[in-house]
């Protein structure tokens, strides 16, 4: 019995590994399990998605030279969202997938300085110059937003809001899809917009 149970556990573990690999191949999709990852943040700490089971996790793809990113940072909109939602227990990862030499690439020191200067307040900024995390989630633009629920399911992917422009004057009155999805999910309601077309600059992946 014990041996059989052990082999069952071994089998399940193999299945789980294969599932992770399959998810990596087919990218992240709203309604499905969010692919697990580990990444190094700008303080040198290793961040493991699975460690945040039980919490909402937001992934925000970032390039500080992109006019669409700057729209949301120079207006204070993104920093306010980070502050508002981390205060409510959400884990917020800013992800930088710009390759070295490309726009938006940041060393750890540069990113820490930038976050201080902008009064940015994510839980951490993940440095992904290889683009592995970006490709795992098929992040297309900056910004491109993803929300993972406490059960580890991706509940939102796409644009930050419904005004696909680089103008900060378009922020007031826009429907912020991230706030909307988090508000709905936390209230136990279905997410009304689980997917939208992300807008912005293309992520500056390594060639």
């Amino acid at each position: 019995m014990n041996a059989r149970r052990l082999s069952l556990v071994a089998g399940l573990t193999t299945a789980a590994i294969m599932l992770t690999a399959a998810l990596a191949l087919f990218a992240a999709r709203a309604g499905e399990a969010a692919p697990d990852f580990t990444a190094t943040d700008s303080t040198g700490k290793t961040q493991h998605l699975a460690d945040y089971r039980g919490k909402y996790v937001v992934l925000e793809w970032h390039n500080n030279g992109c006019p669409y990113t700057r729209k949301h940072y120079e207006s204070g909109n993104m920093e306010n969202l980070q502050r508002e939602w981390t205060a409510r227990g959400v884990v917020w990862f800013t992800v930088i997938s710009s390759a070295q030499g490309e726009q938006g690439y940041m060393t750890a020191e540069q990113e820490n300085q930038y976050m201080q200067q902008m009064h940015a307040a994510p839980t951490a900024a993940l440095l992904d110059p290889s683009g592995d995390l970006g490709h795992l989630y098929s992040a297309k633009t900056t910004p491109d937003m993803f929300i993972i629920n406490p059960e580890g399911v991706l509940i939102y992917e796409g644009a930050i809001d419904n005004r696909a422009t680089p103008d900060a004057s378009d922020i007031p009155g826009a429907t912020n899809y991230v706030s909307q999805a988090l508000t709905e999910a936390m209230a136990g309601r279905p997410v009304s917009v689980p997917v939208s077309q992300p807008y912005g600059c293309g992520v500056k992946y390594a060639h």
Binding site: F26, A27, A28, R29, A30, G31, N64, G65, C66, P67, Y68, R70, E74, E102, Q103, G104, Y105, M106, Q110, Y114, Q117, G131, G134, H135, S138, K140, T141, E157, G158, A164, T165, P166, D167, P194, V195, S196, Q197, Y199, G200, C201, G202, V203, K204, Y205, A206, H207
Partner: protein, 301 residues
């Protein structure tokens, strides 16, 4: 002779403004910069020219005319098609026209696939002329000249993207006789009109089949088509970056398009533009049939 023109591009700009009298067009040129707070991300500023052009030297009461927004970009820069693809944003225009003049929709030539790592955008390398029809009521006063103004917003990208704005204008007399054409502008407009996607001939048979993670767009033109590229009008339906598999058939071509990961519901229509052999472009509006089976394999050769 001409009204004042203004150019803006957010917080940092230097604008140089001139009017080309010969073509009765006014050009707005701007150098763009990017804020200084990201020293490692300094951008070499693109020089973007936006002009409002027409091929006619005057407008005629009761007749339509074509005007065009011409974008001229430095080598390697692009602006976007009406569906920009994976990133970017199409140019937009807000017309400011005198009473009795009415602007129609911008006409978009077939775009190019602009490929970067993991992404494909749709747009125009180095520039484009976007035409728009202007309808002129017969009640427009014949005595005066009119000024056509356009507020243009656009995003120009190479490796990086820079948004821009231009306010362009055109001053034209109102004429009752037949319109005189500017030959240079007319040649350019003719060339551009020839590049616009055409409605598909009634005899063509066009349909799309949804098969698993792909759409197969079948276009029967009556003869085998060797090359075909599809540009989707609606975002979020197909995976822009996935290679398209074009298979010639005896009566046309089948193009296999991978579905987007973002597509959660079936679609009734696949709309867009198909371009055969890099020159003949047609508007496509294909009804989509669902197919549970894998469907036939589409092999070329």
């Amino acid at each position: 002779m001409f009204l004042n023109r203004t150019v803006e591009s957010g917080r940092l700009f230097r604008a140089a403004i001139f009017c080309g009298v010969a073509t009765m067009a006014c050009a707005a040129s701007a150098h763009f910069g990017v804020a200084k707070n990201n020293p490692q991300n300094e951008v070499s500023a693109p020089h973007v020219d936006v002009q409002l052009l027409t091929e006619q030297k005057a407008i005629q009461r009761g007749h339509s005319l074509w005007v065009g927004l011409q974008f001229q970009l430095p080598s390697g820069w692009h602006v976007y098609w009406q569906n920009p693809g994976d990133s970017g944003e199409p140019p937009t225009v807000k017309w400011n026209l005198p009473t009795g003049l009415h602007a129609g929709d911008l006409q978009w030539p077939a775009p190019h696939r602009l490929e970067s790592p993991s992404l494909v955008d749709y747009g125009y390398q180095d520039g484009v002329l976007l035409l728009a029809p202007i309808r002129v009521d017969s009640t427009v006063s014949p005595a005066t000249a009119v000024t056509l103004q356009a507020d243009v917003r656009y995003l120009a990208c190479r490796e990086i993207c820079v948004p821009g704005k231009a306010n362009v204008a055109l001053n034209l007399p109102v004429q009752s006789g037949s319109a005189t054409l500017d030959s240079n502008a007319h040649a350019l407009f003719e060339k551009t009109r020839a590049q616009l996607p055409k409605p598909t001939p009634a005899a063509w048979r066009i349909r799309a089949q949804s098969m698993g993670n792909a759409f197969v767009l079948s276009i029967a033109t009556g003869k085998s088509e060797r090359e075909g590229v599809f540009f989707p009008l609606d975002p979020g339906e197909m995976d822009n970056a996935a290679p398209q598999k074009a298979s010639p058939t005896t009566a046309g071509i089948d193009i296999r398009l991978q579905k987007s990961d973002q597509l959660l519901k079936p679609i009734a229509q696949l709309r867009g533009v198909v371009e055969f052999g890099g020159s003949r472009a047609y508007e496509i509006n294909a009804p989509v049939a669902e197919s549970g089976a894998q469907g036939p394999s589409h092999q070329s050769q």
